[in-house]
């Protein structure tokens, strides 16, 4: 790890000011991923701005919206009574993430900005366009079991590892940012970029911008929502495939449904055509299967991850079957 400068920020404005002034600086909260990336040599920063002391850790709900402060810890959000009761997919996604120790440390903003677990990205000596633009992608012809079948390019097929981001994507959350030019907000559907030919660019955040809050709208589907995570061991492991689902139906007919997928896309994956295939139709094995086929219509599997094409459809069937009581 290279030596770096370090400042403890006293206010959000100060944090943003310092980060905007010092090139190649970044914010640190829990540090559970950032410090590993720096140790592994996947990333280096001249300066870290510690934002742990900022007053951004509140979790609250009003009639229309759940507000999650960027510095709320994963555990705090997962255990929040309103989140558990009215946004279960968010609580489940958080509890399915990492370990209790990590959840005690890791903040929501950092969770959304954690970077891919692709082994080639984390190995400073492997070719990786995300880490060193133009160096190539080792995963295309290497180990790609954990990689994406949707949204990839010839430059990168790495998945985004956050479970929370998948749940928030399903629920149309909004990410609030504070930057040198003031505040702005970005819908989560626009927050994660496809890799295209610039996989090093993962979000539209500008230099010095800090996530301050995430807002989740309360809708008629949020209370009946679930997160299904399939992985290679029982806990403390990233998703092979995951599904965030929220459902409202009348009788057997789907009134509204929200679906997002983890482990299969280069970003938390949402495809409204999949939801459209279900909305207004009776929930059955048949309609779920059709929605699943819609999801993988444009899938591009590789040698190691071909199974995900089938597995993600079955995961969808499993989670909707449980939510909609389909037998």
């Amino acid at each position: 790890m290279r030596a770096f400068g370090y400042t403890i920020a006293g206010s959000p404005a100060e944090a943003v000011r310092i980060a905007a002034r010092i090139p190649n600086s970044t914010f640190v909260a829990g540090g559970t991923d950032l410090l590993n990336r720096m140790r592994d040599g996947a990333e280096s920063h001249e300066h870290l701005v510690d934002v742990n002391g900022l007053d951004l850790d509140d979790v609250s709900a009003d009639s229309g919206t759940l507000h999650i402060g960027a510095l709320a810890r994963m555990r705090q959000v997962a255990e929040h009574p309103t989140v558990r009761r009215e946004f279960p997919v968010v609580a489940e996604a958080l509890l399915a993430s990492a370990s209790p120790q990590v959840r005690n440390m890791a903040a929501i903003g950092g969770n959304l900005l954690q970077r891919t677990r692709c082994g080639y990205f984390r190995d400073a000596h492997a070719a990786c366009n995300k880490r060193v633009p133009g160096s190539g992608c080792s995963a295309l012809e290497g180990h790609n079991r954990s990689h994406a079948i949707l949204g990839g390019s010839d430059h990168c097929i790495a998945t985004h590892p956050s479970d929370l981001a998948v749940a928030l994507t399903a629920l149309d959350a909004t990410v609030h940012l504070l930057g040198p030019d003031g505040e702005r907000s970005v819908p989560i559907s626009e927050f994660y970029l496809l890799p295209g030919s610039t996989p090093e660019r993962e979000t539209p955040m500008r230099p010095g911008e800090l996530i301050t809050r995430v807002d989740v709208p309360r809708t008629s589907v949020t209370a009946r929502s679930r997160y299904l995570k399939l992985r290679d061991r029982a806990t403390f492991e990233f998703a092979v495939v995951s599904v965030a689902a929220a459902l409202r139906n009348r009788g057997r007919v789907v009134q509204d449904v929200r679906l997002a997928f983890g482990g299969v896309g280069t970003r938390p994956w949402r495809d409204t055509r999949v939801e459209a295939a279900l909305r207004g139709r009776p929930l059955s094995r048949h309609t779920i299967a059709r929605a699943g086929r819609t999801l993988v219509r444009d899938a591009k599997p590789y040698e190691g991850n071909e199974f995900k094409v089938e597995l993600v459809q079955r995961a969808l069937e499993s989670v909707l079957g449980a939510l909609g009581d389909v037998r």
Partner: protein, 724 residues
């Protein structure tokens, strides 16, 4: 009278470990120490063209950057050094992650960062990383250890197979795996004139001393190796590896002590691994299930420099009573580090045999336990003893009863609980154990306290505790009156703690030395007119609780302390007793819950029973079972090292992406022991055991998955993609 041996005595070093008082190898604080960090090759095959250390040397705190140009020519030692070359002796690169330069600096952080700044230019050649990619045919290497031949022939297996009523032919596979002890490898080398002391994380202080002595041409007495506690070894710290030798040389060059701690990532190329493995198994049997032929041809990875293989197909040769055996262990040359021993080496091939036995049981239509019972071996072919697997039927019976095996419906795919299919599988557990000549010294001081000294080591398995129990019982002292000191070559030479050899090798000498010391103290008392025991025949004196009693008249008594105080000199004994090699046995029964639509597998129950001769400590023995079964679950369900097929670099060199089981993957294990002394073992009837539990678990899980689903998977790990 035995009061401590056999009981589940808590660890005598437990308090020191949980309070942090226990000093592990890297916990030393040596004045003037330099911190080392290795620069590893980033190519797998080729040559170092140029090393530019200038940026590293300019980094604050950096004292030196050593390369092959700085090193003396060192003597390549034999086993237990595991490679045929020492890195940094020339420019050749044999694997990715081979040391090419060694940075020393005032702090660890400075050394690490300077290592990043060393610029190395290579001439690279394309490497071969996987068995399937090797252009050459597998070949039969020469065995490098006489006790582990690469080919074993008994009878005429080819003809017997041809004539067999039932034939089975299958291929099983397992990937590269790494040990991942939680304590990283560490060496601190401290020279004093022409002698050197190493604070080393090792499973064998004597082995390490012998290797260092051979490499540097030093008399063994001038090399001292200390390893008081070990944070796990699992074979990764059994042989001696290059980083130890390089640290010794660099400390000499730097004229200062040097401490090296490998990073987690570096441990994926520095200390061996379980080789990628293929096992082609052919079984011939009668219709009743008597084995008539066992042919096992395994293929493991070797290297271009080295032909050693480490995963003997021992159970195919020794477990079942088949007259016709042909076992061969082939090698394929890859551009990877030399592999090594990994707990438990025989699991690798045993997985194939025990899965094939399950497949055979379905072919023939008999219960898999019955099939094994029909093929029991009456003697251990390795030592001719009749008792070796005498209690294996009891293991099957005890574990099967605890598990409820008799309720099993043998038809696959018939038991469901909601979405989950339930499957039951079993396998035999077995592993060989070694016995290594060991000497112990025991001293009873003027305070009446006994101190045991021997240069074996406790690798976390409970050796301090068990040896203290044995000595205390033989002396007739309470546990707290005996201190056991291990892990230092200043003590008499003793066994490596690998190959399940510590107990069978060291317990005999400890018991003998303690008996000798007790007899000496009794003789002192009975011949001392000042002792209440004066004149009592020595054979009529008992010892208990640190006191000596006249049998039949317990009012006539003396204490170790009083006898020694009057004597005015400590009593010292030394002993070595040689034991024989052998095997331990067991049976493991596993329940899995499978969701076939999603490909998920969960191990929900495990019951196991073992024959390891006499159980010296039920608590530490049970600990070995829990550990071994957990390893077996990891082997079966998740563990694998991913090696990039194009660069031959490890892709997952960290505990975030190299998965090992967590608590939620491991149910509690129902453990039983036969606990009958083995009269053939002079370690109070105990055999080596540590590597036996877990050997059958991967096969038992695969067999249970078959029973749950009707799907037979022959390659571990049994991940979702294979079960869909």
């Amino acid at each position: 009278m035995t009061r401590l041996v056999g009981r589940g005595v808590p660890r005598v070093d437990g308090r020191a470990k949980v309070t942090g008082a226990a000093r592990y190898a890297a916990d030393n604080e040596i004045a003037g120490v330099l911190h080392g960090f290795l620069v590893m090759s980033t190519i797998a095959r080729g040559e170092v063209r140029e090393i530019d250390p200038s940026a590293a040397l300019a980094h604050p705190g950096v004292v030196a950057v050593y390369t092959h140009a700085d090193m003396r020519t060192l003597t390549v030692p034999g086993f237990p050094y595991n490679r045929t070359f020492i890195p940094m002796q020339d420019t050749r690169v044999h694997y990715s992650g081979q040391p090419v330069a060694y940075v020393v600096a005032e702090t660890l952080e400075q050394a690490q960062e300077a290592a990043n700044l060393v610029r190395v230019r290579y001439r690279a050649e394309p490497p071969v990383a996987r068995l399937a990619d090797a252009p050459d045919e597998p070949f039969l290497p020469e065995g490098f250890r006489a006790d582990q031949p690469t080919e074993t022939v008994r009878g005429d297996a080819a003809t017997a197979l041809e004539q067999a009523e039932v034939r089975l032919e299958r291929t099983y596979g397992s990937p590269m795996q790494h040990h991942n002890p939680i304590e990283p490898h560490t060496t601190t080398a401290v020279w004093d004139g022409e002698t050197v002391t190493l604070h080393e994380s090792t499973q064998g202080v004597v082995f390490t001393r012998n290797v260092v002595s051979a490499v540097f041409g030093l008399p063994p007495a001038d090399v001292r190796v200390v390893s008081q506690y070990l944070g796990g070894g699992f074979g990764a710290k059994g042989p001696v590896y290059p980083h130890t030798l390089l640290t010794v040389e660099v400390a000499r060059l730097a004229r200062r002590p040097v401490k090296l701690v490998l990073s987690r990532a570096q441990m994926y190329t520095s200390n061996g691994h379980r080789s990628e493995f293929r096992n082609h198994v052919r079984l011939g049997a009668t219709r009743r299930g008597t084995l008539t032929a066992v042919i096992g041809t395994s293929t493991a990875q070797v290297t271009r420099t080295d032909e050693r293989t480490f995963n003997t197909n021992d159970s195919a040769v020794n477990l079942y009573a088949c007259p016709n055996i042909h076992v061969r262990q082939l090698g394929v040359r890859l551009d990877l580090p030399t592999s090594g021993y990994m707990r438990s080496p025989e699991t690798t091939a045993h997985f194939g045999l025990e899965t094939a036995m399950d497949e055979l049981s379905y072919e023939i239509g008999i219960d898999p336990v019955q099939l094994r019972m029909r093929n029991l071996r009456p003697t251990d072919p390795q030592n001719g003893r009749h008792t070796a697997s005498r209690h294996l039927p009891a293991c099957y019976r005890m574990a099967a009863n605890a598990f409820g095996w008799k309720w099993r419906n043998p038809l696959p795919g018939t038991t469901r609980d909601g979405d989950e299919y339930i499957g039951w599988g079993m396998a035999t557990e077995t592993h060989s154990h070694n016995a290594i000549r060991s000497t112990v010294a025991l001293t009873i001081g003027l305070d009446g306290r006994a101190t045991l000294r021997t240069a074996t080591q406790d690798i976390g398995t409970g050796t301090y505790t068990v040896l203290t129990q044995v000595a205390a019982d033989e002396l007739g002292m309470p546990l707290g009156q005996v201190t056991t000191l291990l892990g230092d070559t200043a003590f008499p030479d003793a066994s490596l703690s690998a190959g399940s050899s510590t107990v069978p090798s060291v317990v005999g000498p400890v018991a003998d030395a303690a008996q000798g010391a007790r007899d000496r103290v009794i003789a002192l008392a009975t011949t001392d007119p000042r002792s209440p025991l004066h004149g009592v025949p020595a054979e009529d004196v008992d010892t208990e609780g640190g006191r000596l009693f006249a049998r039949g008249d317990r009012h006539r008594s003396d204490s170790y302390r009083d006898v020694l105080t009057r004597h005015g000199r400590p009593v010292e004994t030394r002993s070595h007793v040689e034991n024989t090699r052998g095997h331990s046995f067991g049976a493991v029964f596993v329940e899995v819950r499978v969701q076939p639509r999603l490909g998920t597998v969960r191990v929900s129950r495990v019951a196991a029973a073992y024959d390891l001769g006499r159980v010296l400590n039920h608590r530490t023995a049970r600990g070995q079972v829990i550990g071994g079964v957990t390893w077996g679950i990891g082997f079966a369900l998740m563990e694998h090292t991913a090696v990039d097929p194009n660069t031959a670099r490890v892709v997952n060199p960290n505990l975030s992406t190299y998965l090992v089981p967590v608590s939620a993957d491991t149910p509690s294990v129902d453990v039983a022991f036969v606990d009958q002394p083995d009269s053939g073992s002079n370690a109070l009837g105990a055999r080596g055991f540590g590597e036996t539990p877990g050997t059958g678990v991967p096969a038992a899980i695969g067999n249970a998955i078959y029973h749950a689903t009707g799907r037979r998977i022959r390659d571990v790990p049994f991940t979702q993609d294979k079960l869909l």
